[in-house]
Symmetry: C2
Subunit: 152 residues, 2 copies
C-alpha cells in the first residue's frame, strides 16, 4: 500500500488521533459538568458518541505511537479495512450527535428567544463546538483511510 | 479510470441520483406543507439543504441519462473531482440538517413529552425520515465517487 502523511503509523496520523481525543474529551467534560444534560436526548447522545470517539482515537493513537517507535508498518488490507469502518462509523455518529445538539441549542437561543438553563447554556455551546471540531478531525482521518484503501 | 457500477454515466449511478431526488423532494414537500416549519431554524435548514440536494441530483441525473444515451464516458479527472466535492458537500449538509431536525423533534416528543404543533408533528417526522433516506442514498454516491477518484 502507498505511504503518505496521515496514514496509520505516521506522525501526522498520531497528531490527528490526539486532536480527536483532546476535542472529544473536552466536549464530554463540558457537557457532563452541567446538571441537566440528561433532560435532553440529543445532549446525552453527544456524550455517548464522544465517548465512543475517545475510546477509538485513544486505541488508534496508542497503535500509531507503537508503530512509530518500533518502526512497524500497519498498512495491510485487513487492518486498514477495520480502520476505515471504525473511522466512518464514529465520524458519522459524531456529526449526527453534534448536529442534533446544535439543532436543540439553536431552538433555545434563536427560535424560543432564550435558553432557560441559565449559565449552563454556554457550556452546552462549548461542548457542541468541541464536538464539531472532533468530527472535523476524525473526518480527515476517515478520508485518508478510505483513500489509502482505495489507492491500494 | 476504472469503470464499476454506480460511477457517473452508469445505470446504477442514474438510479442513485433519481433516488436522492425523489426522497429529497418528498422531504421538502412534507416539511413545506406544514404551517409552522419556519419557526424552527433546524426545519428551515432541512428544507434548504434538501433543496440543494434536489438541484444537484437533478443535474447529475440528467448528465447520467445523457451519457447513457450517447454512450459517453464521464470519467475524466476534472469532472470526477467536481462530482466528489459536490457530493460530499451535499451529503454532509443533508446529514447535519436531518440530524438537527431529528434532535428538535426528539426534544418535543421524548424530552418534553409531547409535540405542541398538533397533526403537523407527523409531517415533520416523515420529512426527517425522508431526509435521512436521501442522505443514505447520496452517501453511497459520495463513497463511489471518492473510490473512483482514489483508485484512479
Amino acid at each position: 500500500m502507498k505511504d503518505f502523511a496521515g496514514t496509520p503509523g505516521t506522525f501526522l496520523g498520531l497528531i490527528l488521533r490526539m486532536t480527536q481525543f483532546v476535542f472529544a474529551v473536552g466536549s464530554i467534560v463540558s457537557m457532563a459538568t452541567t446538571s441537566s444534560f440528561f433532560n435532553v436526548t440529543a445532549f446525552s447522545y453527544l456524550i455517548a458518541s464522544m465517548g465512543l470517539l475517545v475510546i477509538w482515537s485513544f486505541v488508534l493513537a496508542l497503535l500509531d505511537a507503537y508503530a512509530l517507535m518500533k518502526k512497524k508498518v500497519l498498512h495491510n488490507l485487513i487492518m486498514v479495512s477495520l480502520f476505515v469502518v471504525g473511522d466512518w462509523v464514529t465520524a458519522i455518529l459524531s456529526l449526527a450527535a453534534a448536529s442534533a445538539s446544535a439543532g436543540v441549542i439553536v431552538l433555545y437561543f434563536n427560535d424560543l428567544g432564550q435558553c432557560h438553563f441559565g449559565e449552563e447554556c454556554q457550556k452546552y455551546q462549548i461542548s457542541i463546538a468541541l464536538g464539531f471540531l472532533s468530527w472535523l478531525s476524525i473526518s480527515i482521518s476517515s478520508l485518508i483511510m478510505l483513500w489509502l484503501l482505495a489507492a491500494g
